[in-house]
Amino acid sequence: MSDDTAETGPERHWRTALAEGRFLLQRTRASGTVFFPPRLMEPRTGDDNWDWIEASGMGTVHAVTVIYPKPPEPPRAVVLVDLDEQVRLMSEIEGIAAEDIAIGLRVRARIGERAGAPLLLFDVAA
């Protein structure tokens, strides 16, 4: 995957995969470190010998804020999720009231759609 003749940068590759229904992460071969968002090389080390892997999709809410827009728009939550692969990302959790989302909640990734574009979202894990 470190082939300099690759047709696109890693971000385009990731977005194309997401549009095809796959949630990818990158994993360095030597250290086994998983990283996100997509990059040319492992942060810190610069190791560019890595593979795309499919994310497990399982994660835990690490931080949460509830945003209160002007009524009648309802409160909505923005979260940081720690994936089991030990990467962190921002997202939303659907199917639960914003104020019921607590740090530590187990969640599962799902590829949804917003404004005609695929988007990574989460549901409460059963």
């Binding site: 968002p37 690490h62 931080a63 949460v64 804020t65 509830v66 945003i67 209160y68 909505r76 923005v78 940081l80 962190r88 990302l89 921002m90 997202s91 939303e92 740090i103 917003r114 574009a117 988007l119």
Partner: protein
């Protein structure tokens, strides 16, 4: 090599603020130029002596070039870095090392913004990156709120403790003629304020004001001939660990935990030596995080440290003695105002003057708790 700093070899020789609060009818560059003119006059110099310009303007990516043109200067060095509200601390670090090397002789660092009169919203060309923007966090409030949620979770910090920060800032502002937000503010007032992005309410957020500031720096031996006592720069250090909040390594520890110790080492002082502290309080959580990361209390103890008016007038540690970004002014980028207040405290000319100030710390924050930069100023007795 690395981490070397010309301790005390350079100094703030002139300083000024202009148009704090509301300054209708002025453009950003006019405000910056006016503050610059006042600072140069305060240093007893002529504008034509300035040979290095450092500036950020909210509405002009190439502000350094515009400022040189506006002042009719042809600087030997021009810088308009974009590390957010901490840019001015980085300017001081660059200016001090370049002055000490003899590369430049007279530095003007300036900022101005008319965001209150110009529209009333935070004026910034910055926003969430492509990985966060689809989830529509309030930028930047939700980023700080997420960090606060972790601080609450890990250390038991409360909204009441955050409110202490806002109340202390207001108490200082109430006796500062320059401050914009005045009047009584109680813990209960803050707790009853409209929630914006939990746990951050509108009273946990800095002001949206107009305002300009400027400082003049030169080598300390020359600054001694200026009208006001020189304010030597003892240390200046910047650190960056991330940009987007989702990439912050630890939401409860900022890069101030690196910039602070480096600045202390340069200055040859520690937190116990600091007489007055100016922190970039964009949100109340900032003050807790920076008090911890800069060594004024242990990690996680920020909330308990500020209880019972501990950082307000008459408290155990004077913090943000001008009223801070929360109650004095916040014209989009606040860093330079902390430096001006720290220098005034050293000079003995602050509105809320603390007795016998020999060491003052000014700490800047940029982005989403991302860029952290610390400047330590001293009195003549420290060099």
């Amino acid at each position: 090599m690395g981490g070397q700093f010309p301790r005390g070899q350079t100094a703030i020789a002139g300083l000024a603020t202009f148009g704090l609060g509301e300054c209708p009818g002025w453009t950003t560059i006019e405000m910056a130029a006016k503050a610059g003119q006042l600072a140069v006059a305060d240093a007893g110099m002529r504008m034509g002596e300035v040979d290095a310009l450092f500036i950020c303007l909210p509405d002009d990516i190439l502000a350094g070039l515009s400022f040189a043109e506006y002042l009719g200067l042809s600087p030997r060095f021009t810088d308009c870095n974009r590390t957010g509200g901490s840019a001015f601390m980085s300017h001081v670090a660059t200016a001090a090392t370049m002055l000490a090397a003899g590369y430049i002789d007279t530095v003007l660092i300036a900022y101005g913004a008319n965001q209150r009169s110009g529209g009333g919203k935070l004026s910034t060309p910055v926003g969430s990156n492509a990985w966060e923007a689809p989830y529509k966090p309030l930028f930047p409030a939700s980023s700080y709120a997420l960090a606060a949620s972790r601080h609450f979770h890990e250390f038991g910090t409360t909204r009441r403790q955050l409110a202490e920060v806002a109340v202390a800032a207001r108490a200082w502002a109430n006796t500062n003629p320059e401050a914009f937000a005045k009047g009584p503010l109680s813990i209960d007032d803050v707790l009853a304020a409209r929630m914006l992005s939990s746990p951050i309410s509108v009273k946990d957020c800095c002001l949206v004001t107009d305002g300009a500031a400027a400082i003049v720096m030169t080598r300390t031996d020359r600054a001694r001939d200026c009208p006001a006592p020189p304010v030597p720069v003892l240390g200046a250090a910047a650190a960056t660990w991330h940009n987007a909040i989702s990439q912050m390594p630890d939401l409860t520890t900022t890069a101030a935990a690196e910039s602070g110790p480096r600045a202390y080492a340069m200055a040859g002082v520690g937190p116990d030596d600091v007489d007055v502290v100016q922190l970039y309080d964009a949100f109340t959580i900032n003050t807790l995080l920076f008090l911890e990361d800069l060594g004024f209390c242990p990690k996680g103890e920020g909330g308990r440290f500020v209880e019972d008016g501990a950082i307000g007038p008459g408290g155990r540690l004077p913090v943000n003695t001008n009223g801070g970004g929360l109650s004095c002014c916040h014209p989009g980028m606040y860093g330079l105002f902390t430096i001006v207040e720290a220098a005034r405290q050293i000079r003995g000319t602050a509105a809320n003057q603390i007795a016998d100030v020999d060491v003052a710390l000014a700490h800047g924050n940029g982005g989403a708790l991302s860029s952290q930069a610390t400047v330590i100023l001293g009195s003549a007795a420290t060099i």
